[in-house]
């Protein structure tokens, strides 16, 4: 109420009357208001709201009003006038931020009213209430159609206003003809609104009015300026979408602008004695679009631009009015957007200087913006204004500061990056708004990645960003930082790398002292400590483990951090074991692990078990699984799988059927495979709707003795992407439990049955091909995933090589009369050439993701003997029906009972080891070594993936997908891949004993396969294996 009072007082003084009289006047106003149809109730409401002292009180009043309105509005036969008032009151309620949706329908009803006033109120309320996608809109369309044809132009224009707001893409056709008719309406007021409505239609759905574009050109020539200016709004959008089509209008725009500038429009369009400034600005915007990159078109504009500037330019020493400066600023925008003309550019620079020197903050702001535009064309121009820029940077006005930082961001190069980033960080410190923080953080990161002078600086900067912006930083940045640390400087300078790492470790250990750190930074810290904490020997393993436990403890709810921490502990332990030292876990770590062993998060549980397994392993195994500094190693996979060539050749020589690509295979048997193919294709565009009809289902033709797979099972198999392990395992098993004595018939029967369960449906018709392809596809898929990952790593180095900007310009030192502080800042911002060169020198040591060839890949060759050995079990990978198509199997194998065969299918039974003396023990290791000897060496994603594939079905589907995840996954190794972590590799090594794998898979939830596997295992081991039996591992491995 004070505000009213003050207003009233002001007026009272102005009119020289006294306070009491004034109160009466207020009363008079209120009554006059009441006379326009508002009741005392409403006036009381408005007054009560005005007088309410607190938000809560206001809330209470409004809620009471809503209740009241709800009751009253639903009464039958509310008089029209009363209803109108209710609607206005609803608008009021809604304006104050409350929900008035119960009354929307009455507002819609009101639009049907014949009385113009009521109709207008109805339209006003609906435009305020409804969004364009509201359900009620369909109810208004009919009224609109009628009103658009009305004789009364006020009705028409009210309807048009509503059309602009309410008509959506679906309802455009309903009113479009009427609106188009109105373009020829005698009243310019209506024509103008019709143009605006068409413009709105174009915004909503360009295709709906595409045939009317020519209309806009015609309207441009309308004799009424307001209609013409309405057309400009639409034309701006049109030009924006297709410049070429409107080039021929340039002359028209130029001549309109000329006429406007020369004051040819009626006086009514003047605004503070400036001729139609809004029209001028609109045309300038369009000209900027038309002239961009087109010398000829630009040349046509030069003279009119000069003319506009000349007429808007204020006299010497005057600041000029807002509106003339608005035009001048728009001229600068146009001049810098079109092909530059030196003279115009000079004028633009002059105006910019004037704006920058102004005392008015608004002008300074515009000046900074204009400067940013001018220096894009003439970089030297910044030099003259460096001090003005620094003034703005230090201004108390937040908006101005941010604008200046924006300018600096665009001016950044390697010479001044440190100063600018420092400024940005200190600005970020003052921020509380998440939006802005995210924005600034992303800019800092971008600059740091592009121009970082050294890795050390980069890491420090990133730490600061993480600290300040915390979880607003995208996770990718953290991954990039880790990758940078892992890869080092990109040169074979191990010493510098380890120096960098130990400095990172030091800084992170220090950082852990801080009370509150964002989760993402903690993840980085954990990773770095795990990877390099003990590398330089200054910190003992116990120290680091203690720190990691602290981190995990202080963030009980953060699973990601805990996961990082436990993995880091695992790595440290592994390094210790690998170095031959005894690991004795400190008590708090013990309890942490115990905690995780019982965790509800299966990922954490898994990691904890893995750690326990590691503790019981011998050094040489641990070293292999988790090599020191293994995360910097890239994995390259030869998609051709050359090491298998020999095996393939021999298989072919032995009569195996050659491999066909899936597509070829689809051609070959259209029956089942088309079914498979269709279900495939449905799968790929996962969420899209299908509009075309489904294919008529073709009944699969059973081939041979195999019957079709039960359809209900199919989707499951389609879903489980990497099928290879299954089929692979089947084949392995098939080989081991191959029974020649029983004859091909039996074995084939059995295999078919299995195929139906575990393989893809296509396999039942063409078992061998399908199975083979499964395997190869899987390999392919995995490969491509990995190589994609690898290549994107290469393409996207964590910090790209800085772009050398040839336009880097030299700067003179700042003028002498300026305070030294500012001079220094100016010098560092606008930089000298010498510093820049130095910086270029440093640049060479950029954090580039160069791959070190030495580590990149281990030669796949040296293992030929092993792969030869491995090839015997692998044989059957290629041929499902090994029984008949593979006659060369040793006949010495004893017969098995069907149960055992089943086991064999599921996993490699250890009984097979005893019965086939040579095979399983060696072959399993061969598998490992085979993959080991492939370019995959470290414990990074793929290696573990491939290992795991042999072991666990559940793991593979996830790991396969993870491998496809690209660069992050590649970097994140253990941390990113919950399941494929070291145990994968480990399991590969110790695979022959099924119980171990069963134990590991146990907690993965019920699945047919698992339970069968478990059953098989239990009968072999003689115990019921449970996941939570760590001692079992010890027994098995120890």
């Amino acid at each position: 109420m004070e505000s009213w009072a003050s207003d009233i007082m002001k007026k009272a003084f102005k009119q020289g009357s006294q306070g009491t009289v004034d109160q009466l006047k207020t009363l008079g106003r209120e009554l006059a208001m009441g006379s326009q149809g508002s009741s005392k109730d409403f006036l009381d409401l408005v007054k009560a709201i005005g007088e309410s002292k607190s938000k809560a009180e206001e809330e209470r009043i409004i809620l009471a009003e809503i209740e009241h309105l709800k009751k009253r509005i639903m009464e039958p036969d509310v008089p029209r006038k009363k209803m109108k008032e209710y609607i206005i009151r609803l608008v009021y309620v809604e304006m104050l931020g409350h929900d008035a949706s119960f009354g929307y329908i009455y507002a819609v009803k009101m639009t049907h009213d014949d009385n113009l006033l009521c109709k207008k109120s109805g339209y006003l309320a609906t435009t305020l209430f409804l969004n364009e996608d509201h359900d009620l809109i369909i109810l208004i369309v009919n009224t609109m159609q009628k009103d658009l044809k009305s004789d009364n132009y006020l009705v028409v224009s009210a309807a048009l206003t509503a059309v602009c707001k309410l008509i959506n893409e679906e309802t455009i056709p309903a009113v479009l003809p009427q609106v188009v008719d109105l373009l020829g309406h005698p009243k310019e007021h209506v024509r103008k609104k019709a143009v605006m409505a068409l413009h709105r239609f174009h915004q909503r759905s360009p295709s709906s009015v595409s045939h009317l574009l020519i209309k806009f050109r015609q309207i441009l020539c309308d004799k009424d300026p307001s209609v013409m200016s309405a057309a400009l709004c639409a034309l701006f959008d049109l030009v924006l979408s297709d410049v070429k089509a409107f080039k021929n209008l340039t002359a028209s725009f130029v001549s309109i602008l000329k006429q406007v500038a020369e004051h040819r429009l009626p006086k009514a369009y003047d605004y503070h004695r400036t001729p139609a400034p809004f029209v001028q600005i609109k045309i300038l915007k369009i000209l900027a679009l038309l002239g961009a990159g087109d010398r000829h078109t630009s040349e046509n504009m030069y003279s009119v631009l000069l003319e506009v500037i000349k007429r808007s330019e204020p006299g010497k020493g005057e600041p000029g009015s807002n509106i003339s400066n608005a035009i001048l600023y728009e001229c600068i925008c146009t001049i810098t957007a079109i092909v530059a003309n030196p003279k115009l550019l000079g004028t633009a620079a002059e105006i910019t200087s004037r704006l920058l020197k102004s005392n008015n903050h608004n002008y300074k702001y515009m000046g900074i913006d204009a400067l940013g535009r001018v220096i894009q064309i003439d970089p030297d121009f910044a030099e003259q204004h460096q001090l003005a820029v620094i003034d703005c940077l230090e201004d108390e006005d937040d908006t101005l500061k941010r604008k200046t930082l924006d300018l600096l961001y665009r001016m950044t190069k390697s010479a001044n990056v440190e100063v600018i980033v420092e400024r940005m960080i200190s600005y970020m410190r003052t921020l509380s708004d998440a939006h802005t923080k995210t924005d600034i953080a992303s800019r800092i990161i971008e600059l740091a990645e592009r121009f970082a002078p050294s890795n050390q600086w980069f890491i420090q900067t990133m730490n600061q960003v993480f600290e300040l912006a915390g979880d607003l930083v995208p996770a990718k940045v953290a991954h990039d930082l880790m990758r940078l640390l892992a890869k080092g400087a990109g040169e074979d300078d191990e010493e510098a790398d380890s120096l960098l790492r130990s400095s990172a470790v030091e800084s992170y250990l220090q950082l852990l002292g801080e009370p509150k750190l964002p989760s993402i930074l903690l993840q980085v810290v954990c990773w770095v400590l795990g990877e390099y904490g003990t590398a330089d020997g200054t910190h003992s393993a116990d120290d680091i483990i203690g720190k990691l436990c602290d981190v995990a403890e202080s963030h009980p709810g953060d699973i990601a951090v805990k996961g990082y921490a436990i993995t880091a502990i695992t790595k440290i332990c592994a390094f210790e074991i690998g170095a031959g030292r005894q690991v004795q876990l400190i008590p708090e770590c013990r309890s942490f692990i115990d905690d995780l062993l019982a965790s509800h998060a299966t990922d954490l549980q898994q990691r904890a078990y893995e750690l326990q397994v590691f503790l019981g392993l011998t050094p040489d195994i641990v070293q292999k699984v988790l090599p020191v500094n293994g995360s910097g190693v890239d994995i390259e996979i030869d998609r051709e799988l050359p090491f298998l060539q020999e095996f393939v050749d021999s298989a072919l020589a032995n009569g195996a059927r050659p491999y066909f690509h899936e597509n070829e295979r689809l051609d070959m048997d259209s029956g089942i495979s088309s079914f498979v193919g269709s279900s495939r294709s449905q799968q790929e565009p996962s969420h899209a709707l299908r509009f075309e009809a489904y294919e008529t289902p073709t009944v699969p033709i059973p081939s041979g003795s195999s019957s079709t797979a039960p359809p209900s099972l199919l989707p499951d198999f389609q879903e489980a992407k990497p099928e290879s392990p299954r089929s692979l395992r089947n084949h392995l098993a098939a080989d081991n439990s191959q029974v020649d004595l029983l004859g091909p018939e039996v074995s084939r029967l059995r295999l078919d049955g299995v195929q139906r369960k575990w393989g893809r449906p296509s396999a039942s018709s063409q078992p061998s091909l399908a199975a083979t392809s499964d395997f190869e596809q899987e390999i392919e898929r995995r490969d491509s995933g990995v190589s994609e990952g690898a290549s994107s790593i290469r393409e996207n180095p964590p910090a790209a090589v800085p772009m050398y900007d040839p336009r880097n310009f030299e700067k003179k030192k700042a003028q002498p009369e300026i305070p030294a502080e500012k001079q220094r800042l100016a010098a560092s911002l606008f930089g000298g050439s010498s510093t820049q060169k130095a910086a270029n020198g440093v640049k060479a040591s950029k954090p580039a993701a160069n791959l070190r060839p030495g580590e990149k890949s281990a030669p796949p060759r040296p293992v030929t003997t092993q792969s030869q050995q491995a090839s015997s079990p692998l044989m059957d990978l290629m041929d499902m029906t090994s029984g008949d198509s593979f006659p060369a199997d040793p006949p010495a194998k004893p017969a098995y009972d069907p149960f055992k065969e089943l086991e064999g299918l599921l996993d490699r039974p250890s009984t097979a080891a005893s019965s086939t003396p040579a095979a399983p023990q060696t072959s399993s290791i061969d598998f490992m070594s085979l993959y080991d000897s492939a370019p995959v060496i470290s414990h990074t994603t793929t290696s573990s993936t491939s290992d795991t594939d042999f072991l666990s079905l559940d793991h593979t589907s996830r790991s396969g997908m993870d491998a496809l995840n690209g660069p992050q996954a590649g970097l994140m190794d253990l941390n990113e891949l919950p399941v494929t972590s070291p145990l994968g590799g480990l399991a590969g090594l110790v695979q022959p004993n099924p119980s171990s794998s069963t134990g590991l898979q146990e907690k993965k939830g019920p699945s047919l396969h698992n339970s069968l596997q478990k059953d098989a295992a239990s009968r072999q081991v003689g115990v019921t294996p449970t996941g939570a039996n760590p001692a079992l591992f010890q027994d098995l491995f120890g």
């Binding site: 102005k14 006379s35 435009t127 307001s226 809004f278 400066n325 608004n362």
Partner: protein
């Protein structure tokens, strides 16, 4: 394009809102709360622009009322400032020395006027005269309604003499 128009009193009370791009009621409340906090706390000498969520908010204070418009990042701020002024001048001309009270009690009129100045987020009429003409034409239609109760206001007018 103008995304929304807000009129907020110095106490942070909403006097008028008009949304040209879709916002749910929840978002609206949030936006108003956020912006009124930012705008009301700014000093008088600072510039009239705010960068906000990738958009720009241009505001100007008239007596106890803040007029705010939210525009695209590449729009001309000074122009927007003048659009606000243009609107205020038209209000002033219509109400005759407009004050906050006029807008409080006649907010629907303010909406009608705004609808004549801006449409679909664009400035549609740059001539004050033609806006005044249209609004006047509407008012003549309700003249008779006014007359009904003019006796009351006459009494007041006499009392204030």
């Amino acid at each position: 394009m103008i995304h929304f128009v807000l009129l907020i009193s110095r106490q942070g009370k909403v006097r008028l809102t008009k949304w040209y791009s879709p916002h749910t009621q929840k978002e609206r409340t949030k936006v108003i709360r956020e912006l009124s906090g930012m705008i009301l706390s700014r000093g008088p000498k600072l510039c009239n622009f705010l960068e906000w969520r990738g958009l720009k908010v241009v505001y100007k204070r008239y007596a106890s009322l803040y007029f705010c418009m939210c525009v695209d990042a590449d729009d001309n701020e000074l122009e927007t400032l003048e659009i606000i002024h243009h609107f205020v001048e038209i209000l002033d001309r219509y109400f005759g020395n407009v004050c906050e009270l006029d807008l409080i009690f006649n907010f629907h009129k303010a909406y009608y006027i705004l609808d004549e100045v801006l449409i679909a987020g664009e400035l549609q009429e740059t001539s004050k005269k033609s806006v005044a003409r249209v609004i006047a034409a509407q008012d003549t239609l309700i003249e008779h309604a006014k007359e009904q109760s003019s006796s009351l206001s006459n009494i007041i007018a006499q009392a204030t003499k």
